[in-house]
């Protein structure tokens, strides 16, 4: 990011931003929009489908094809990822199938992706801003010596056909739109959950399949996987994808009061989370943090109790369909993004809300 790295302005404001973008001749053949389909241990990360949905729009605007890039071991799971890519919008799938791609390691994945890019030359390459996606994208962009914009929240195609990648900066207080001049592909990683999940369309035709060899042996790979320790609390990962989320903030006063949040979540069949200070104080696990440095959520309903709505929190919840805020301060920033606001004491409203929902939904789930 040029802006942040600039110690002293070397040139008048505007810098190269005003430069004419004349693409070097050898990049002119780069065409089509690609999405890296992230598969780890047989499971495709949903951000891949979100990106195919977004990529479809970009490809249509450019009048080019949308392709998914699938990498994995030979077998049913990899083939299923290929088949699903078409249903989420891919016209073509590039497939690198090799036993060495069973578990993620930087070397074989970076080689595979770099090779397919160099061979088939896309103009846009999108990856999820996950631990895997960011590990891989950094290596591939450096190898290709092209621009990479990290952790984007918005993508668009400009009139001159270039990718405009927008991302929060300085903790979300500002947004900046970044272009990759004179290099291809234009690469970006995109936060999970900021793009809408597209509908799966089983009637879409099965598109082209282009297979590419890895050409690597285990001995070529220096890093070895000794073991994998799967996360125990399996619902931790669900927060980002939950339909209903209830969260609490410092306004709850003390850790015991957080139970009011989990009680409501239980009745709603919802996931729970919280603001960063609760993680720092040890009230909740780090995986439950919502916001810029935590999870981005996109639920149908988000209930925030005793949360002020700082910008770093806001960027993680803006995609929710309906935000309900409970805060005793009528001037709290959370009311600027809430759809429904309740000025009041969360400690009395939360239990009343839990009871009212329980009646309305007429179920008696075990609290827990």
């Amino acid at each position: 990011m040029s802006e942040a790295k600039k110690p002293v302005p070397a040139k008048p404001a505007g810098g190269r931003a005003g430069m004419k973008k004349e693409l070097p001749e050898h990049f002119k053949s780069y065409k089509h929009v690609w999405v890296f389909v992230e598969m780890e241990r047989g499971v495709v990360h949903p951000v891949s489908w979100e990106l195919l949905g977004e990529g479809r729009k970009l490809a249509d605007k450019l009048g080019v094809e949308l392709a998914g890039v699938v990498m994995g071991p030979p077998g049913a799971e990899t083939r299923a990822a290929v088949a699903e890519s078409y249903t989420y919008g891919a016209d073509t799938v590039y497939l690198v199938e090799d036993p060495l791609l069973t578990d993620y390691r930087n070397e074989p994945f970076a080689k595979a992706l770099t090779d397919v890019v160099n061979t088939y030359q896309p103009e846009v390459l999108l990856l999820g801003a996950t631990t895997l996606g960011r590990d891989l994208a950094g290596t591939v962009a450096t190898t290709l010596k092209t621009g990479l914009t990290a952790d984007c929240t918005e993508l668009a195609i400009d009139d001159d056909r270039s990718l405009a990648a927008t991302r929060p900066t300085f903790g979300g207080s500002l947004l900046c739109t970044i272009h990759t001049l004179n290099y291809r592909p234009q690469m970006a990683t995109i936060r999970p959950r900021v793009m809408a999940m597209p509908d799966k369309d089983e009637s879409r035709p099965v598109g082209g399949l282009i297979e590419h060899p890895l050409n690597m042996a285990e001995d070529d790979i220096v890093t070895k996987i000794l073991s994998f320790i799967a996360d125990q609390d399996s619902d931790k990962a669900q927060l980002a994808y939950a339909d209903v989320v209830v969260a609490g903030g410092l306004g709850l006063g003390k850790p015991e009061n957080f139970k009011l949040v989990t009680d409501l979540a239980t009745v709603l069949g919802a996931e729970y989370g919280g603001s960063r200070p609760l993680v720092q104080k040890g009230w909740i696990a780090a995986e439950r943090q919502i916001g810029q440095t935590g999870k981005t959520i996109r639920p149908k309903l988000y209930i925030a109790a005793g949360i002020s709505g700082a910008i770093q929190h806001r960027v993680g919840v803006e995609g929710a369909d309906c935000i309900v805020a409970i805060n005793s301060d009528p001037g709290a920033a959370i009311f600027e993004i809430a759809h429904i606001g309740i000025v009041g004491d969360a400690l009395t409203i939360l239990p009343a809300l839990t009871e009212a929902f329980r009646k309305r939904l007429s179920v008696n789930r075990m609290a827990g």
Binding site: P9, Y104, R134, G138, A237, L268, I340, L353
Partner: protein
């Protein structure tokens, strides 16, 4: 063992304000700090040094005032420091930054071979998490990102074992030295500097390198020139147009408020009630 830790001086983001009219960052008066994520890497590096021997060199690229951060790191216990500063570096994006830092690490290695390079997981101003992987690629180092724990380093076999966070769990990885590691936040906590370290830090002769001294071979790969990305536009997030429906709370009981809130929720999201009933009944 020789470890290089890349640290960046950043404005303390908790105190950053955005100018309401020009939408620019107001840096005046905002104190600079070592990028907080880099401290986890610095601490891990010093722990390895404390158990295995050797030294820790901190490296930073930035304006001359970045020297403050390097001295701070020396005060915390780092052994040596290199400041990379040159007007040619101004405006570097991650590709150009990793080029400059990688060149400097190569230079450092000429006199004192480097076994491990540490970088932070990401910065709080750039926030890209790309510079670490960029350095690894350029120096052809094995890359271990999002490391929660360095399990052990075997200097004889020149091997390192780490726990690396992945989406669904933790990978236990073994690789060869030299390598590049980025530490996950919370994996340790930075020590307090000792008095002797603080005194040493104040007196320490740190090395200040310009592009030439850092062994930069191709100056066109640095700074604005060497940066394929350009910031086209900086703007403030737009306020939402529709205002919140405020539930009338004056003189109402918590039960009345809740009932009104639930009505408002289901009015705004008509499909939600059916979904929730289904969800609550466990039918999906």
């Amino acid at each position: 063992m020789h470890i290089v830790v890349c640290i960046k001086q950043v404005p303390d983001s908790a105190q950053i304000r955005v100018h309401p009219v020009t939408n620019t960052i107001m840096r005046q008066g905002v104190p600079s700090v070592i990028n907080p994520y880099d401290l986890f890497s610095l601490e891990e590096a010093m722990r390895l040094r404390d158990t295995l021997g050797g030294k820790v060199t901190v490296l930073s690229m930035g304006p001359p005032m970045a020297e403050d951060s390097l001295r701070k790191a020396l005060g915390l216990g780092a052994d040596d420091a290199v400041l990379l500063t040159d007007r040619f570096f101004a405006g570097s994006d991650t590709l150009a930054t990793s080029y400059a830092l990688a060149s400097a690490i190569k230079k450092i290695s000429e006199t004192d071979p480097v076994d491990i390079v540490f970088a932070g997981k990401q910065t709080i101003d750039g926030d890209t998490a790309q510079v670490g992987p960029g350095i690894a690629k350029r120096l052809n180092l094995q890359q271990l990102t999002y490391v929660a724990k360095v399990e052990g380093v075997d200097l004889e076999k020149r091997e390192v074992v780490v726990h690396r966070r992945s989406e669904g769990g933790v990978q236990v990885l073994k690789t060869s030295l030299p390598c590049l590691i980025t530490m996950l936040e919370g994996s340790n906590s930075i020590r307090f500097g000792t008095m002797p370290d603080m005194f040493r830090a104040a007196r320490h002769q740190l090395r200040t390198w310009n592009a030439e001294a850092a062994g930069i071979e191709d100056i066109s790969l640095c700074g604005l020139k060497g940066s394929p990305t350009v910031v086209k536009k900086v703007f403030a997030p737009s306020a939402r147009k529709d205002k919140a429906t405020m539930i009338d709370v004056t003189g109402k009981s918590a039960d009345e408020i809740s009932a009104a809130a639930i009505d408002a929720i289901f009015k705004a999201q008509p499909k939600l009630e059916a979904d929730m009933l289904e969800l609550a009944a466990g039918t999906r």
